[in-house]
C-alpha cells in the first residue's frame, strides 16, 4: 500500500527500477526466442506470425518499456540529490508519470494473452500496421498502450525540467551542475519536443484502425510516407533520449574512479546540447530508400554525419579524463570503460549507414541490427549497468558484490560482442532483417550459431546480476555516505539510503564537483546554506494510481469498441463506449478530487531530524 501511494522520488525510483527490470526481462526472453529460431537454417521452432510478433514486441518493449524506466529510475534516484534538492518540483506528477507508464506497459503486454501481439515491427510502418494487413488487435495494443506509457514519460520529462530549473541548491549555477544532471536536463527537453509528435502519430493510426479514418490509406488519399516522417521525427530524437543519460553516467563514473576532474567539462555541456539539437534534424536518414530524392538524401546524410563531431569530443574527453588519473577498475568503472570502445564502434557503423548510397545496400539487413544494438546495448545498457552498480549503495544502502559484478561484466560484454559483431558480416552478406528463417548454405549458418551462443552468454550475465542483487539484498544495509570513497557530487554527502527529506540543511555549492571541492579544502562535508528548520513534505496519495487505472480501462474500452462479443451485455458495454466512459470518469473524478481537497502536506520538525540522523 505504501508503494501504491508514495510520492517520494527515491521510492518512485525503485518502482521504476522493478518495472523496468520486469519489462527488460520480458524483452530479453523475447530476444532469446528470436535467436533460438535463427540458430540454424529452416528452423521450425517458431512460425512466421509468432516471429513477427516477437520481433515487434522485443523492439517495442526494449525501447519503450525496458531501458526507459531504468533511465528514469536512475534520474529519480539521483537528480534531486545531485542538485541539492529536497524533492522534485512535482512529487504528485512524478507518481502519476510512473503509474501511467506502468499501466501503458501492462496494456501493451496484455496483447500476448488477448488475441495476438502487434506484428508490424516496432516502427509500425503503414500500411503493414493498418487494419487491412494487421487484422488482430495487436497494433491497437501498440498504439493505445504506447500512448498511455508515453504520457507518463512526457510527465516525467516536464517534471525533471522544472526540477532542474528551479530547485538547484544555492550556488549551483548551470555550469556547476554535474554532467548527469545536465544530460537529464537535455534528455527531458528532447522528450518534451519529441513525444508529442509520436502522440499524434499514434492517434492518427488509432483513428485509422478504429474509426475508419484515412490518414494512411492510399486508396482514400492517405499517405504511408507521412507515418514514416511522423514516426522518425520522434524516433530519431528518441535514440538520443536513450543515449544521453548514458553519456551522463559515464561522465560521473570515469572521473570518480580516476580521481580527476572530468576533462573539458564545458565542452561536454555544449556537445550535449549540440547533439540534442542535431538529433532533431536528421530523422530522414531512416528514409533514404523511401524515395525522397537525392537532394533530401544528401542533406540528411550530411547533417547526420555532423553528429559525429560532438560525439567524438565526448569520447576524447573521457579518454583524457582517465589519462594520468589513478584509475580504479571497480565494477562500475569496468562497465564505463567497456562502454567507450563498444559505443564508438556503433558510432562508426552509424556514419557508414548515414551515407545514403551505401544505405541502399545496408538497409533492412543485419548490418542495421548490429549497428543499433552496438549503440543501444553496447552504449546504453553498459551505461545503465555502470550507473546501477555505481548508485546501488546510494539507493539501497548496500554495496553489490564486486566479484559477481566483474563476472557480470565479462560474461555480458563477451556475449554481447559474440552476438552482434558477427551480425555486421551477416548483413554485408545479405541476410535480411525481420525474416523468420533463411536457406542453408549461404554462409549464414555458422555466424548465426555464434550469434545465438553469444545471446545465451548475455543471458548468463543477466542472471549473475540478478543473483548479485538477491545476495546483496540479504546483507545488512551498512553502506557509508561515500562508499566509493572518491565521490565528487552531492549525493555522496548524505546517508545511504538518504532520509526522506534528503538534506537536513540545503548545502551551499562552491564549484563543480561540489563535494570533491570541500574534500580538497580539507572539509568533512558541505557548508549548509540555511539553519536547521522544519521541512515541508508532500503527503502520500492514491490518486495517481487511480487516475492511471482509469486511463487503462478507458484504453481497453476504446480498443474493443468495434468488436462483436458473443455476449449481448458485453457488446452493449463496449460498443456504446460505456467502458471507455467509466475509465474516463475514474480518471477525471480523481483529478476533481485532487483539485477539491487541498493537500497541504506535512512537516518534519527539527527535533525529529536530530533523532533520525545516522552516524
Amino acid at each position: 500500500m505504501d508503494w501504491l501511494t508514495t510520492v517520494d522520488h527515491k521510492k518512485i525510483a525503485i518502482l521504476y527500477l522493478w518495472a523496468g527490470g520486469l519489462f527488460f526481462g520480458i524483452g530479453g526472453i523475447e530476444a532469446l526466442l528470436i535467436r533460438w529460431q535463427l540458430i540454424k537454417p529452416m528452423n521450425n521452432f517458431l512460425d512466421a506470425q509468432t516471429f513477427n510478433e516477437l520481433i515487434t514486441m522485443h523492439g517495442t518493449t526494449m525501447i519503450f518499456l525496458g531501458v526507459m524506466p531504468v533511465i528514469f529510475a536512475l534520474m529519480n534516484a539521483v537528480i534531486p540529490l545531485q542538485i541539492g534538492a529536497r524533492d522534485v518540483a512535482f512529487p504528485f506528477l512524478n507518481a502519476l508519470g510512473f503509474w501511467t507508464f506502468l499501466f501503458g506497459g501492462i496494456l501493451l503486454n496484455l496483447s500476448w494473452v488477448m488475441g495476438g501481439a502487434p506484428d508490424a515491427g516496432w516502427t509500425a510502418y503503414t500500411p503493414l500496421s493498418t487494419s487491412t494487413y494487421s487484422t488482430t488487435h495487436g497494433v491497437d495494443f501498440y498504439t493505445i498502450g504506447l500512448q498511455i506509457a508515453g504520457l507518463g514519460t512526457l510527465i516525467g520529462g516536464i517534471n525533471f525540467l522544472a526540477t532542474i530549473i528551479t530547485m538547484r541548491a544555492p550556488g549551483m549555477t548551470y555550469m556547476r551542475m554535474p554532467m548527469f544532471a545536465w544530460t537529464t536536463f537535455i534528455t527531458s527537453a528532447i522528450i518534451l519536443f519529441a513525444f508529442p509528435a509520436i502522440t499524434v502519430g499514434l492517434v492518427l493510426l488509432t483513428f485509422d484502425r478504429i474509426l475508419g479514418a484515412n490518414f494512411f490509406e492510399v486508396g482514400a488519399g492517405g499517405s504511408p510516407v507521412l507515418w514514416q516522417h511522423i514516426f522518425w521525427i520522434f524516433g530519431h530524437p528518441e535514440v538520443y533520449i536513450l543515449i544521453l543519460p548514458a553519456f551522463g553516467i559515464i561522465s560521473e563514473v570515469i572521473p570518480t574512479f580516476s580521481r580527476k576532474r572530468l576533462f573539458g567539462y564545458s565542452s561536454m555541456v555544449f556537445a550535449t546540447i549540440l547533439i540534442a539539437f542535431l538529433g532533431f534534424m536528421v530523422w530522414a536518414h531512416h528514409m533514404f530508400t523511401t524515395g525522397l530524392g537525392p537532394v533530401a538524401n544528401a542533406l540528411f546524410s550530411v547533417s547526420t554525419m555532423l553528429i559525429a563531431v560532438p560525439t567524438g569530443i565526448k569520447i576524447f574527453n573521457w579518454l583524457f579524463t582517465m589519462w594520468g588519473g589513478q584509475v580504479r577498475f571497480t565494477t562500475p568503472n569496468l562497465f564505463a570503460v567497456g562502454f567507450i570502445p563498444t559505443f564508438t564502434m556503433g558510432g562508426v557503423t552509424g556514419v557508414m549507414l548515414a551515407s545514403a548510397p551505401a544505405d541502399f545496400q545496408f538497409h533492412d539487413t543485419y548490418f542495421v541490427v548490429a549497428h543499433f544494438h552496438y549503440v543501444i546495448v553496447g552504449g546504453l545498457v553498459l551505461g545503465l549497468f555502470a550507473g546501477l552498480h555505481y548508485w546501488w549503495p546510494k539507493m539501497f544502502g548496500r554495496m553489490l558484490s564486486e566479484k559477481l559484478g566483474k563476472w557480470t561484466f565479462w560474461t555480458f560484454i563477451i556475449g554481447f560482442h559474440l552476438t552482434f559483431f558477427v551480425q555486421h558480416f551477416l548483413g554485408l552478406m545479405g541476410m535480411q532483417r525481420r525474416v523468420f528463417t533463411y536457406l542453408p548454405n549461404q554462409q549464414f549458418d555458422f555466424l548465426n550459431l555464434v550469434s545465438t551462443i553469444g545471446a545465451g552468454l548475455m543471458g548468463v550475465g543477466m542472471i549473475i546480476f540478478l543473483v548479485n542483487i538477491l545476495l546483496t539484498s540479504r546483507k545488512p544495509a551498512d553502506a557509508s555516505n561515500d562508499p566509493w570513497e572518491d565521490g565528487r557530487t552531492l549525493e555522496w554527502t548524505i546517508p545511504s539510503p538518504p532520509p526522506e527529506y534528503n538534506f537536513k540543511q540545503t548545502p551551499l555549492i562552491r564549484g563543480i564537483d561540489a563535494f570533491w571541492k570541500e574534500k580538497v579544502a580539507g572539509n568533512k562535508g558541505m557548508t549548509p546554506a540555511e539553519p536547521v528548520g522544519s521541512i515541508h513534505m508532500p503527503s502520500a496519495t492514491i490518486l495517481p494510481f487511480t487516475m492511471s487505472i482509469g486511463i487503462f480501462i478507458a484504453g481497453l474500452g476504446f480498443m474493443f469498441s468495434r468488436d462483436e462479443f458473443g455476449n449481448a451485455f458485453m457488446s452493449f458495454l463496449f460498443n456504446n463506449y460505456i467502458v471507455t466512459a467509466i475509465g474516463l470518469i475514474i480518471t477525471f473524478g480523481s483529478m476533481l478530487m485532487r483539485s477539491l481537497y487541498d493537500d497541504h502536506g506535512w512537516h518534519i520538525e527539527p527535533e525529529e531530524l536530530e533523532g533520525s540522523e545516522r552516524t
Binding site: T166, P196, G212
Partner: protein, 208 residues
C-alpha cells in the same frame, strides 16, 4: 470570499499572487514547458493537415464545404474570450475576487458559445454534405485537427468552471491564484492555435 475578508488582506496580498510561492512559480514554469509540448502536438497535426488537405477522394473539398461567416463568428467569440480572460487576470492582480469570478464566467460562456457553433458546423457537414471522418484523407485530417482543438476548448471550459467553484470555496489565495493564472495561459494558447486553424484550414481552404 467576503468583501470584508478581501479588504482585510488587501495590503498583504502580493502583486503577482501566482508567483508568490515556489510552488506557484514551479507551476507557471512547468505550464510554459507543457505548452511547448502542446505546440509540437498541434504542429504535427497542422503538418498532417497540410499534407492531406487536397486529398478529397471525390468527397467535398474545403472550398465547397466551408461557410466563412459562421467560422468568422466563432473566431470572433473565441478572441473576445481571450480578452475577457485577460480582464480576469487583471482583476486577480488587483485582488478583486468577485470581479475575477465574473470575468471567468464570461470567458466560460463565450467558450461554450464557440463550442456550440463548432458542433453545429460539424453536424451540418455530416448531415448535409456527407462529409464524415471516413470520407477522405482530407476529412480525417480536418476533423482530427479541428476536433482536437475543440476538445481542448471543452477541457478548458471544464477546468475553468471547476476553478470558479474552487474560488468560491477557498477564496483567492496564493494557492488558487497560480491555478487561475495557468488556466488563463492555456486559454490564450488555444486561442492562438485557433488563429492558425482559421488561417490554414479555413482561409486557405477557401482561396487555395
Amino acid at each position: 470570499m467576503t468583501t470584508a475578508h478581501a479588504e482585510a488582506s488587501k495590503d498583504t496580498f502580493p502583486h503577482e499572487p501566482e508567483k508568490a510561492t515556489l510552488e506557484g512559480r514551479n507551476k507557471v514554469l512547468a505550464f510554459w514547458l507543457f505548452l511547448g509540448g502542446e505546440a509540437v502536438l498541434f504542429g504535427t497535426l497542422f503538418a498532417t493537415f497540410l499534407a492531406l488537405r487536397n486529398q478529397t477522394n471525390e468527397g467535398p473539398s474545403a472550398n465547397e464545404l466551408f461557410h466563412l461567416p459562421l467560422v468568422a463568428a466563432a473566431t470572433f467569440i473565441l478572441l473576445v474570450s481571450s480578452l475577457t480572460s485577460v480582464f480576469a487576470i487583471q482583476a486577480m492582480h488587483r485582488n478583486r475576487p468577485a470581479l475575477l469570478r465574473n470575468w471567468l464566467l464570461v470567458t466560460v460562456g463565450l467558450g461554450l458559445g464557440f463550442l456550440v457553433l463548432e458542433i453545429y458546423e460539424f453536424t451540418q457537414y455530416v448531415r448535409h454534405e456527407e462529409f464524415g471522418m471516413t470520407t477522405s484523407a482530407f476529412s480525417s485530417a480536418f476533423y482530427t485537427l479541428v476536433g482536437f482543438h475543440g476538445a481542448h476548448v471543452a477541457f478548458g471550459i471544464a477546468w475553468i468552471s471547476i476553478l470558479i467553484g474552487q474560488l468560491a470555496r477557498k477564496g483567492l489565495t496564493v494557492v488558487t491564484a497560480p491555478k487561475v493564472y495557468v488556466s488563463a495561459m492555456y486559454w490564450h494558447f488555444i486561442d492562438v492555435v485557433w488563429v492558425f486553424i482559421f488561417t490554414v484550414v479555413y482561409l486557405l481552404g477557401k482561396v487555395g
